[in-house]
Amino acid sequence: MSPAVAGLLQAGVLVLFLALAYKPLGGWMARVYSDEKHWRAERLLYRIVRVDPGVQQRWTTYAAGVLGFSFASIVLLYLLQRLQPLLPLAFGRGTDDATTVAPAMAFNTAVSFVTNTNWQSYVPEAVLGHTVQMAGLTVQNVVSAAVGMAVAVALVRGFATRGSREGDGIGRIGNFWVDLTRGVTRILLPLAVVAAIALVAMGTVMSLRSGVDVTGVDGAQSTLPLAPAASQEAVKELGTNGGGIFNANSAHPFENPNALSNLFEIFLLLVIPVALTRTFGIMVGNRRQGTVLLAVMGGIWAVFLGLTWLAETFPNGPAALAAGGAMEGKELRFGVPGSALFAVSTTGTSTGAVNSLHDSFSGAGGGITLLNMLLGEVAPGGAGAGLYGILVLAIIAVFLAGLMVGRTPEYLGKKLGRVQVTYAAVSILAMPALVLLGSGLAIALPGTADALNNEGAHGFSEVLYAYASAANNNGSAFAGITVTSDFFQTSLAVAMLFGRFVPILAVLGLAGSLARQRHVEPGAGTLPTDGVLFGALVGGTVLLVAALTFFPAMALGPIAEALS
């Protein structure tokens, strides 16, 4: 079988399994977030944390919950890293200069995992012990994904409420604590348990030892670090997190041992964002509304996959030409197709796990992964973040269409006025502002040139990629760049924080304003939003917003390199 046919089959099988999971998982999630009943274990949990699960919150209370929970998470994760020497299973890490997690790094990592970014400026197997990995990072891998899903569901409820004229229910978008808890107990944890056991069966390590000493055929001794990897790997992909328990992330054979586990991990990181479009369709009472958004996501994903695969199959750099192919920074067991498939899926979601080094990709291949993030990560986006991201872009698309024909725009039975469009604009503009200001500032600083690993246009791409990754809460990197200076640690942490919470606040405000509106029946002038025309319009809007914002910056980096 030729490599091209094998690669196509591999992508085809992935799509097939996503299609099989689409209806059951999408339907299950819709039931989870609409269920009136609480599980007995959940009621116990609500009693322990003193939450009344029956309360329906306004958007401001819901947002305060998101912020309060995330703030507490950052503080706890920071403390866990700083106090690592006192924790069990630390193996002496954190006790000397080489492994101590300095304040700037601890802050960066805490923000990184709480914002679902999982940007990593540390070498995990050398610096962090198993307790911080499990009780700190694995926990955030679960709950930060559940927060994103809760926010997405709150926005969907804003559209779905019929809106009574008066009464207590008006403007309520759900209960954050209930949404968060159910996301964990009914969706993420059950899936993670199954996925983690499957990963162990495929060969991923799951050990509480620090490592194992081996003596090779040549008599040389080496230590192979071990970790409780499978439990974290499963939820790292499922929750579109991406933070590896080993430095090489999903390229490390202990995390991703073979081509089957590779395909399984790609499936895991795509399945929740993909199925959420079904959940959305069910909750707004018209499944085709979800199908249209999924088609936009899938279209971008497929085109980008093709482009990256082509670019990596026919690289243009002198080093790749001399070597005879683009295998620098790729694992042989995955090859070019398995690496391109992972790269496009991880940057189109907010995962940021890598099974190959994007920094070593060709100009065009690396540029596509960068562009995939700069689109706002909607192909298909992070767990929850992808759905609310594309819904905001759909609002912009409806608004643009309304401007063109001079009618008051409405979407899913809700009028889009000044307030709604303002919230949508704030949500969309936060990320580009952070990327462009951050990259500009970093480039202007004298020390930055020393932090780069590559020269010329590719070096600029390393900086642009870093801020794009942080502000989009992706977490992958053109990893040659050295980001351990206080400036990078702090500015990237700020980009992650604002890139996460500004859109979330805007989206919740939007949800609140929609929930206060009464549902209007579509009239003769209403743009149908469940057909091909609207899909094309949303796709066009996604590309247009990114192109207008980022073309100059892209031209200086990956485009210049691709045309060399």
């Binding site: 194992v212 040389a220 080093a319």
Partner: protein
């Protein structure tokens, strides 16, 4: 507003502590428990080969005592190795992060081609791509069937094994694409070198 925020933060902290127990202790320890089942525990502890001579998942380049009589099959280069070739640092995984236009990477590729061509007695252009490029992890356990074939003659000569015997061992260590279409055909270097050692007796 501030009161709401303070109250919600307190609730958030309580829920976070419960979640830490549930997702940070119960969940990983339960998976660890399941991974103790015979049949899974070997993989969970790193797929260590019999005799503790390495892991079948981790490639560490063997260093010959005498470079002129090198009996080993070699792994792909590792970005963390001291020289252009040779074993990488197993305790810190990672790659070079060099792009195709990087001058140093071009130099590394050329140097590796020359070294391997010299070692195997072939032209530099005959050295396959995986032999001259560092993997993403620096621990790639596999080489391509082409790179294994390139090393067969030397290994047979140095070990005194018949070439056909070495070829058979390579064939044993070779895996096609998983399920016929997943990934790439690979030769596992850890297992191959052990098989060669056992064959020498």
């Amino acid at each position: 507003m501030l009161t709401t925020l303070r109250r919600q933060t307190a609730t958030g902290l309580r829920l976070l502590l419960v979640m830490t127990v549930l997702c940070g202790l119960v969940y990983p320890l339960a998976i660890w428990g399941v991974s103790r089942i015979p049949g899974l525990s070997g993989q969970a502890e790193g797929s260590i080969v019999a005799g503790g001579a390495g892991s079948s998942l981790i490639g560490v380049d063997p260093v010959p005592a005498d470079p002129a009589a090198d009996p080993y099959f070699h792994t792909r280069p590792s970005a963390s190795s001291q020289g252009a070739l040779g074993p990488g640092d197993t305790t810190t995984s990672g790659g070079s992060n060099k792009g195709g236009f990087d001058a140093e990477l071009l130099q590394d590729v050329r140097e590796r081609q020359a070294l391997i061509a010299g070692r195997e007695g072939v032209a530099p252009s005959a050295v396959p791509v995986d032999a001259v490029t560092a993997s993403a992890s620096g621990l790639d356990p596999d080489i391509s069937p082409a790179y294994a074939a390139l090393q067969e003659m030397r290994v047979a000569r140095v070990t005194g094994l018949p070439v056909d015997r070495v070829r058979a061992l390579v064939a044993d260590a070779t895996d096609g694409r998983m399920l016929g279409f997943l990934g790439e055909p690979t030769v596992n270097v850890t297992e191959l070198n052990l098989a060669v050692r056992d064959a020498r007796g």
